[in-house]
């Protein structure tokens, strides 16, 4: 079975899922083991959805404040950035943190 990144658990969808699972664990309805299985399924579903269902292109510009490559994960902190998604441009003067895993998995 292909392994999927857990990276997207930090997104809105992942965090809300974790909170919901946590409530069910606390109420005694499910075990942490089952919750982990749900999260793993989430990793798979969100990864597949992003790669197959999303077509949008984006461009980013900005001042790079921090860069780091560790264990094949890039972390970039950008300031004064502008993001262009389709026809919408968003300007952020505050920091934006970009966390990127390699799109080549180990062993590929």
């Amino acid at each position: 079975m292909t392994l999927y990144y857990q990276l997207y658990r930090s997104g809105t969808l992942g965090i809300t899922l974790i909170d919901s699972l946590n409530e069910l664990i606390q109420a005694g309805h499910i075990t942490p083991q089952l919750a982990m299985q749900v999260l793993e399924q989430y990793d798979k579903s969100i990864s597949e959805a992003l790669s197959s269902k999303v077509k949008a292109k984006a461009t980013m510009k900005g001042d790079l404040g921090i860069y780091r490559l560790c264990d094949d994960v890039w972390t970039l902190v950008v300031k004064n950035s502008s993001f262009k998604c389709d026809h919408e441009t968003i300007t952020i003067t505050d920091k934006v943190k970009i966390v990127a895993c390699s799109n080549r998995r180990a062993g590929e």
């Binding site: 990276l7 997104g11 809105t12 969808l13 809300t16 974790i18 909170d19 919901s20 699972l21 409530e23 069910l24 664990i25 606390q26 109420a27 005694g28 309805h29 499910i30 075990t31 942490p32 083991q33 089952l34 982990m36 749900v38 399924q41 989430y42 579903s45 969100i46 597949e48 959805a49 992003l50 269902k53 999303v54 949008a56 292109k57 984006a58 461009t59 980013m60 900005g62 790079l64 404040g65 921090i66 860069y67 972390t75 970039l76 902190v77 950008v78 300031k79 950035s81 993001f83 919408e88 968003i90 505050d94 920091k95 934006v96 943190k97 970009i98 966390v99 990127a100 895993c101 799109n103």
Partner: protein, 319 residues
Amino acid sequence: MSNSIVAAIYRYVIDDVVRNVHADFEGHGVDTSVLEELQRSWEAKVIQSRVASFPGEDSINSPSHDVYANQFNARPATYHDYAGPAGAHNINSAASLASIINNPESMAPSAASLASLAQSGRGQLLLDDDEDADSDHQQASHHHRYNGPNNNIPQNDGADEPVPVLALPADAALAKWQAIRDSRRQTYQHNIDAWTNRDRSAVGQVDGASDDEDEDEDDEEDDNNNANSHVDDRHRAPIATFGSGKVEAPEDAINSDLDDTDEEDDIENNNEESDHVVLCQYEKVTRSKNKWKCVLRDGIMLINGRDYLFQKATGEFEW
């Protein structure tokens, strides 16, 4: 704009996850109604996050509805189903709602139309709750009833539940789960800050206060999990436990940096936490002198409290 596809993609992912874990739930002998509850709770939280416009949910989605809901949170069923019993979530929203109430100018639409909108939403939510009570979840319905009309903080629920949470989990899985949950909470806190900031333009100080409260509650919850203590113990326990002090300090430091100092200091201090996060994969990251070029894929951007998705993105940055 790519924000418009968010709702559809998220809906797809939720459905896909629920469909695919059905067998896992059966394998664990967990009733399907629990899975349905998971889906309902998950969807409610996503809608409440307001990271995108979810079709048909606009009335529930509006901030002013939150105010309305808060006024009615003496009715626990409504509040439960609206936001779910997550401690951090509810407490934070309650705090931010309180501040919204204190700043009436932030409530733009007219009260009358809101009341009718929210009324319909509430009817729906109450209906959901009835279904829940009718199902064979004695625990769930007990849990709703127990919290009774005068308890506004659903976080207490989890700890109130007496036995099963202690009996079931294997230690390893529980520890792993708690680690996941705690690390997500931190991320979540940043996101929440972004969302609340978006709703109220000026009132920075209130955020700080709700942050602190939130952290405290989280820690109390954590302490509870670890110690498996009952709710009575928690109420007696002093708030300033070792854990909360430990977490609070860096939070304050981050906030004060954000509020008071210029951003150069943040960078120089390697303070890289941010309200705006991009999660993605990279094809390549190259540098030529001080120019960086990145080719990124399959990304989720949380920018200004809205989510955006991209299949491919190029970044050009100067260091």
